[in-house]
Amino acid sequence: MRKLTRRQSYYFLLIGSLMILGVGMLISISLGAKQISISDLLKSLTTGIKDINYEIIFSVRLPRAICAILVGGYLALSGAIMQGVTRNPIAEPSVMGITQGATFMIALAFVLQKVSPGLSFSYLNLMLFAFLGASISGTLVYVVSSRGRGKVDPVKLALAGTALGTLLISLASGMAIINNLSQQLGFWISGGLTGANWQHVKILLGIGFVGCTLSMLLAPRLTILSLGEDVAIGLGEKTNRIRLIALLLVVLLTGASVAVAGNIVFVGLVVPQIVKSLVGVDYKYILPCSFTVGAVFLTFGDILARLINPPFESPIGSLTALIGVPVFIYLIRKERAYE
């Protein structure tokens, strides 16, 4: 068999993952406390008769499925961008403490709401909290692990990220225990899509539109930057500006994801790795594929979370972690930088 060109495998991957995504979405919608068969589902969608199935599909299942797609896509995209900027295969929002920063700030927002009864935050406000947390922890880890001139120490990046992440998550748990919010916040801390609704979808779409467009505009720059600092400067790129924009994008996409689905880890580690092994080093190809494959990953993760221990839902964040750890270990064993 002739080996596919990068371009061909790009289209294959893109179309293939979109098709799998379609199937996943149907399964995701039909699955739940009330099973809705695929034929009933199609009937509801096509005829528009407002029966109980229609209600369930449109008020609960569909927004959840869409949120899974968007959150998975955004997290994978963030991972891909971060890896390009730091030239480090294990750079990723949750390894760098960015998701944990957002989780912590959301926990703080909940606590503030509880202690001062007049205060009430909208989803948009919560998202602002998430952005703030994500940017603070992301910047901190980046600063601690950089060793001048844009180089990032890969070991320090992971260590500082994990340490800060542990601290932030334990602080969030502590606040939850003190204010008797454990269950509410446990959801954010372990990650899950139980509460997804149309408002989430709208906000995610809005932010995602900006984020994805900017990412695609940034793609050629990322490709150059991933070749190395010197090459990029030699080619006339303003590397610091690219890095700043990239970090802002990651904060935006990750923050929005965490505000909706909580602390979901390792999606941005696993997905870009698979994508890169198939479509090569060009970010024009990597970014769109990361999005679609990330969407597939989280859609099926969400299905799995509902299947493991019915009628309870398992936290998706823990599931993605269990899938992600072997990949993480594989990458560390492979990489010479950790010698």
């Binding site: 601690v144 992971a158 260590l159 340490a163 334990s170 602080l171 269950q183 964040g317 992600g324 560390i332």
Partner: protein
């Protein structure tokens, strides 16, 4: 040891002991039953009321002794891990040894008793340290095997450990869902580290392990010094390097595992205590190990007192208090490195 160094060591040790005694006294005063210092002394002398005696001898004392044992054990375990891997950032909590032990204990209690805490039988209590040991050893072996690639490199070991830690913690989280709501909160305290084995029974269950292993480690302290010189030199000096390294690792894992079985997953204590000890009395392990243990005891006792009193009557997991102290120190270490 020359005289000046010896005197400095003695002064450091005595200051630490005094501080520990001070914190211990404060800790005895702290709790839902308010007691004045003089009442505490009276009760200690056997002249307190019944409720005072109950609070002091049955509730606070075992807990304090547990904090002392756990603090010392984690600090020594961290010292040995750092010495053996020659990496200042090694710690049983960061490496996933603690969470391995935690996972096994929670699973064990679940299968033996149905749910955690409410009425754990004596058999379960006394077999628990052993189960924790098995978990800790399995965790450590996984890390060692996965990090092995024509030898062990410290940074790879650390990163693999982080990965294993995440995997164990996630399994623990998924397992939590099998428990009821109140149990859920308690397991959360488990994963964040909380001294919960607070009756005399638990003290009796872990004390032999911890004291014997501590003694063995102290006896082997000079090997840690020799190994620090490098494998070739150590072999030249007649040390069976690979065997000694494995033995020491094994002892460190035992300490971490047993400590975790009664105190949950407390990270960063094993990281900062040895570090501070090195700063105070230098790198030689015979001198450093006791100081590290004292610092570990001081920090954990203080943190536990804070955890109990800060938001009383709600108790926060002591692991969180330790993390609040430990993480900034950890990041500071990386910055100056």
């Amino acid at each position: 040891m020359n005289k000046k160094v010896k005197r400095k060591w003695l002064i450091t040790a005595s200051i630490l002991v005094l501080l520990i005694l001070a914190v211990l006294f404060i800790s005895l005063n702290t709790g839902s039953l308010a007691m004045t210092p003089s009442e505490v002394i009276q009760t200690l002398l056997g002249q307190g009321s019944r409720s005072q005696q109950l609070a002091l001898f049955e509730l606070r004392m075992p807990r304090i002794i547990m904090a002392i044992l756990v603090g010392g054990a984690l600090a020594l375990s961290g010292s040995v891990l750092q010495g053996v891997t020659k990496n200042d950032l090694a710690d049983a909590g960061i490496l996933g040894i603690n969470s391995g032990a935690a996972l096994f204990v929670v699973m064990y209690i679940y299968f033996m008793n149905g749910n955690v805490y409410s009425g754990i039988s004596n058999l379960t209590i006394f077999t628990m340290p052993i189960v924790a040991l098995v978990g800790a050893i399995i965790g450590a072996m996984l890390i060692y095997i996965l990090a092995w690639n024509r030898g062990i490199k410290a940074s790879r070991l650390l990163l693999i450990g982080i990965g294993i830690n995440i995997a164990f913690t996630s399994l623990l989280t998924i397992f939590q869902l099998r428990f009821t709501t109140t149990e859920y909160n308690r397991i959360m305290a488990w994963t964040s580290g909380s001294i919960w084995g607070t009756s005399w029974k638990y003290v009796y269950a872990v004390i032999p392990f911890i004291l014997i292993v501590m003694g063995l480690i102290y006896y082997k302290a000079r090997y840690l010094d020799v190994m620090h010189l490098g494998d070739e030199l150590a072999t030249g000096l007649g040390v069976k390097v690979e065997r000694t390294r494995l033995l020491l690792l094994f002892l460190a894992v035992i300490l971490a595992g047993v400590a975790t079985s009664v105190a949950g997953n407390i990270a960063f204590l094993g990281l900062i205590a040895p570090h501070m000890a090195r700063r105070l009395v230098g790198p030689k392990h015979k001198r450093q190990l006791p100081i590290a243990a004292l610092i570990g005891i001081l920090i954990l006792l203080g943190a536990d007192t804070l955890a109990r009193s800060l938001f009383a009557p709600i108790e926060i997991p002591v692991g969180i208090v330790v993390a609040v102290i430990g993480v900034p120190y950890f990041i500071y270490l990386m910055l100056i490195d």
